[in-house]
Subunit: 491 residues, 2 copies
C-alpha cells in the first residue's frame, strides 16, 4: 500500500504481477512454478467454482474423483495425446525417503524404486477412460456425465501467477456417449456454458469458435474455445471443450452393446476451465488503482467505512451500519464493515479500491444527521450522496449497473479491437499498431500457421462459430482456399 501500482500504459506485465501480489490474490511458493492462492484470491475462485458447479449440475453432470497419479504407460496409449502431453510433467520414481548417514536430513531410498514410474496428471483422459472401461458395457450405462475438480501439473518453464503455473486448479468434465451426434452436442453445450459463465458472471465478452487443426487438444477431433481480449490487446483462451470422437475409447478399448445388440466404441468429450480464469478476470477489468471485480464474483460486494473523530461518533455510526448491513444481507449482498481503528479512512479507501470491492459506503456524523450516505462505485469512481432510507435497494440496483457497465466497457473495447484485413502486410501492421483480434483468410495448414507465428508472434485463436458457413476466401499467405480465422498475440 506504500506506493501506487505500476501503470498499465507503462508496463502492463509488471502492473499485473504487482496487482496479483498487492491485492492478496496469490504469490509464488518455494517450489518453482507452483503458486499459493491466498484467502482473498481463493474466495474469488470459490465464487467461480460455485457458479460453474451449479451450471454443470443443471446440465446433468455429477462430480467424482480420479487418481492424481497416472501410470507412465497410459500416456502413450493414445498416440496424439502423448505427443501433446507426455513430455513436460512431474515424474514420481520412488516411494520412500530415509535418514541420511549424517542423521541431519533425508535422502531418497534407492531400494524404494517404483517398477513403473507414475506421472502427476497433466489432464485425466487416460486414467478416466481406463476407468470407464469398467463402467460401460451396455447402452443402458450411457451417457456417463462426470466432472472432477482437481489439481493438475504441467512442468512449465516460464510461469506467471494464475496465467501459467506448473500446478493449477481446474475442473475437467469427461463424458461418454452412445452416438457421435450426442457427443458433439455435449461438447457444444459445454462450450455454451463456458461462454455464458464468462459473459454473465465474469462480465468478460468472449468469441466462441473452433480451434485450427494444429491448435486442437491432443487427441481431439474438434476443440471448441472461448477467446477473450485483455486490455493490452492480447487474447486469452479462457476455456475449451473437446469432441474426442472415439479416440480414447479405442485407446482404452471402451465398447458398449448398442440397443441393436452391436458392439461399438463409445464417443467422448472433455472440457475444462482453470485458475487461469482468475488471470483473465483480473486483466479484463482492472485499472491503475487495482482490481475491478464484477459484483457477481466479488467476495465482498460492499464495504462500509466509518468517518469519525470521537468514539461516540463511531458508536452512533456503528448502530446505523448494523441496520444497513442487515438490510443488505437480506438481499443476499455481502458486506464488510471496516471499523479497524489502526487505519485512517483514506488508507482504507485505497485498500478496498486495490481489492476491487464494487461499492463503498462512507458515513460520517454529518451523514448520520442528514440521513444520507456517500456511495462510491469502484468501476467509474463516481461518488454520490444517497438517502439512507432505502439504501439497500439503491445498492442492489447499483451492483447490477456495475455488472452491466463492466461488461459493456469490455465489449466495446473488444469490438473496437477486431480488425478485418485483406493482406498479410495489413495483418502485420494492425498487429503492430493496434493489437487485438485480426480477422484474415487462412488456409488451415500448420505450415502457414507456423510462418505467421514465427514472423508476427500471433497465433490463430479460433474460427468463430458465428461465421461457420459464409466466410471463405483466399489465404492471405498462400492464396489457397481459406476460411476467415481470428488471430492475435495471446497469453
Amino acid at each position: 500500500m506504500s506506493k501506487g501500482l505500476p501503470k498499465r500504459s507503462e508496463d502492463y506485465s509488471l502492473w499485473y504481477n504487482e496487482l496479483v501480489k498487492r491485492a492478496d490474490l496469490a504469490e509464488n511458493s518455494a517450489v518453482r512454478g507452483c503458486m499459493v492462492i491466498k484467502p482473498y484470491g481463493f474466495a474469488i475462485w470459490e465464487k467461480m467454482q460455485a457458479v460453474l458447479d451449479k451450471m454443470f449440475k443443471d446440465t446433468g453432470h455429477s462430480n467424482a474423483y480420479f487418481p492424481l497419479l497416472i501410470p507412465k504407460s497410459y500416456l502413450s496409449k493414445e498416440a496424439d495425446h502423448v505427443e501433446g502431453f507426455a513430455k513436460e510433467c512431474a515424474v514420481v520414481t520412488h516411494y520412500r525417503l530415509k535418514n541420511n548417514d549424517a542423521g541431519d536430513g533425508v535422502v531418497v531410498d534407492p531400494a524404494a524404486k517404483l517398477e513403473e514410474e507414475l506421472i502427476i496428471r497433466p489432464t485425466s483422459e487416460t486414467v478416466i477412460w481406463s476407468t470407464y472401461k469398467n463402467w460401460i458395457q451396455s447402452y443402458r450405462d450411457l451417457p456417463v456425465l462426470v466432472n472432477q475438480w482437481a489439481n493438475v501439473m504441467r512442468w512449465e518453464m516460464r510461469t506467471r501467477l494464475f496465467l501459467r503455473t506448473a500446478e493449477f486448479l481446474w475442473q475437467e468434465g469427461h463424458t461418454a456417449h452412445a452416438t457421435k451426434m450426442e457427443a458433439i452436442e455435449e461438447a457444444e453445450q459445454m462450450h455454451e456454458v463456458y461462454a455464458r459463465f464468462a459473459e454473465d458472471f465474469m462480465a468478460m465478452p468472449v468469441v466462441k469458435g473452433t480451434k485450427s487443426e494444429s491448435e486442437r487438444f491432443a487427441g481431439a477431433l474438434e476443440t471448441y474455445t472461448i477467446e477473450a481480449l485483455m486490455q493490452d490487446g492480447k487474447a486469452l483462451q479462457a476455456g475449451t471443450s473437446h469432441f474426442l470422437g472415439q479416440n480414447f475409447a479405442k485407446a482404452f478399448d471402451v465398447k458398449f452393446q448398442s440397443k441393436e445388440g452391436k458392439l461399438e466404441h463409445v464417443w467422448g468429450t472433455s472440457w475444462g476451465v482453470s485458475t487461469r480464469l482468475m488471470g483473465a478476470l483480473i486483466m479484463a477489468h482492472s485499472d491503475d488503482e487495482g482490481l475491478v471485480l464484477p459484483p457477481k464474483l466479488a467476495p465482498i460486494q460492499v464495504v462500509i467505512v466509518p468517518i469519525y473523530r470521537k468514539e461516540e461518533e463511531l458508536e452512533a455510526i456503528s448502530d446505523k451500519v448494523k441496520e444497513i448491513k442487515a438490510a443488505l444481507l437480506k438481499r443476499g449482498i455481502s458486506v464488510k464493515f471496516d471499523n479497524r481503528d489502526t487505519f485512517k479512512p483514506g488508507f482504507k479507501f485505497a485498500e478496498w479500491e486495490l481489492k476491487g470491492v464494487p461499492v463503498r459506503l462512507a458515513m460520517g456524523p454529518r451523514d448520520l444527521a442528514n440521513g444520507t450516505v456517500e456511495v462510491a462505485r469502484r468501476d467509474t469512481k463516481e461518488k454520490n450522496t444517497y438517502a439512507l432510507e432505502g439504501i439497500d435497494a439503491t445498492v442492489e440496483q447499483l451492483l447490477e449497473e456495475i455488472q452491466n457497465n463492466i461488461f459493456t466497457k469490455a465489449l466495446t473495447y473488444r469490438d473496437e479491437h477486431i480488425t478485418e484485413v485483406s493482406s498479410y502486410e495489413e495483418f502485420k501492421k494492425v498487429l503492430e499498431d493496434k493489437g487485438g483480434f485480426v480477422a484474415a483468410y487462412f488456409d488451415g495448414t500448420k505450415a502457414t500457421e507456423d510462418k505467421i507465428q514465427d514472423e508476427t508472434k500471433a497465433s490463430t485463436r479460433c474460427f468463430p462459430v458465428d461465421w461457420k458457413d459464409s466466410e471463405e476466401g483466399p489465404c492471405m499467405i498462400t492464396g489457397k482456399p481459406g476460411k476467415k480465422y481470428l488471430f492475435a498475440k495471446a497469453y
Copy 2:
C-alpha cells in the same frame, strides 16, 4: 445386485469391501492404493464438505490453496515431523519424459533430473509455515485462520477403500496465533466442531479426548481426537486437531512483533478430517442389505417407485408424483422418481436399499384411488401407508426421526461397548470376548503402550476430556501412577 451382500456377522471386512463397491461409492484404480470415488460416493462427500466448510467459515476461517509438492529439505526442518511423515511418500525426481528409442512409448528423460527432489504432500504444515513466515510480521497480522481442501498422499502398504488409501482427500486447517492460550482455544474449538459434525450430521457418536504422547501428531504438543465405534467393535479415529505449540514457528522461523514491541515466535494449530469419514459413515450404520445413510448426508433423501402394469397407470402415477416431488423440494428434501422401465419394482427396492436412501415411497393405482402411499423407512425397514394429503410434512418428520434413530442406535451400541476393567487379565478378556472400548489405568509411557499393543493389538484411543481431572489410579501393567484411558482395536 445379482446376489446379496456378505453378512456382517460372517465376514465384516468382506461385507464392507463389497458394500463400498456395490453401492457405487468407490473402487480401486490401476495405481496401487489410489481410489476412484464414484459419483454416488462423491455426492456424499460433497454433502460432508458443504456442512464442514460452513462450520469452518462460521468460526472465522477462510480457504486458501498451497502447493502439492514440498521440497525434500522442508520435511527435515521439524525434527519430530520428519520422523512421523517423511518416510513413506511419493517422490518426484524428474520433470520430463521422452520418446523411447523404439518410438512406441515414453521413458524418463535422465537429463531432466531435479536438483532437489520434491515430495507429494503427506500433510502441509511445512509448506504452509514456510509461507506464513512472509505473511506474519506483527500482532496485527494475527490470527491467521486458514483451511485448505486438498488431496494428500501417504504411501501405505495395506490399503482399504476410504479407510486407508495412498491418496486421499481431506481438509487441513492451519492457524497461527499470538498467544499459547489462543492457539489452545482454537485447537479445542475445532475439536468441538468435529464432534458436532460427527454427531449431528453423521449421526455417529464420538468420544472426545486427547491422544497419548506416542500417538500424537508428529510435531504437536497435544492432539485432540474424536473416536467412533464401528459395528464390529473396532474404534476409528475420525478427526484430529493439534496444538502445535511454537514447534513449526521455530522450525520455519516465524516471529511477530507483539503489542509490547517484543519479537516472539507464533503459536500454531492444525486440524483435519478426510475421506476416511466416508468409511466411518458406512460402517457406523449400514446393515446386511446395504448402506444406511443419515438423512442429513444422503444425496437422495427420498425415492419414489411407481408400481404399474399399464402405460396409463404410469401416467396417472407420474402426474401425482410431480406434485409430491414439488412439495418435497419446497421443503428442501431431495427426491428421485425412479421411472425406469427396464427394471421391476422389486429390483429397484433392493437397489435403493443398497444405496441407503432413507425413505422410499411406492405408489400403485390402488394407492392413487385411495389417496394413499406406501412409505418405507430404510433404517428400521418398517412400512406404513399414509395419506397423500400432507405427505410432504409426514416425510419431513420421518427424515428427522430417522436421523435421530440412527444416532440413538449407534449411541446405545457404543455405550454398551465401553467396559471398565481393573486388571490386565480382565482387559484382555473383554477385548477378546466383547470388543469395543476398554477403559483402564495406564501410566502413559510408550513402553507400556507398545507392550499392550503387541500382546493384544489394542491401542490407546484417547484420554477422554470429560474425565480430565478425576480419573487417576495405578497402571494395570506397571502399577505406576496412571490415568484412565480408552483402549480399543482400531481401524
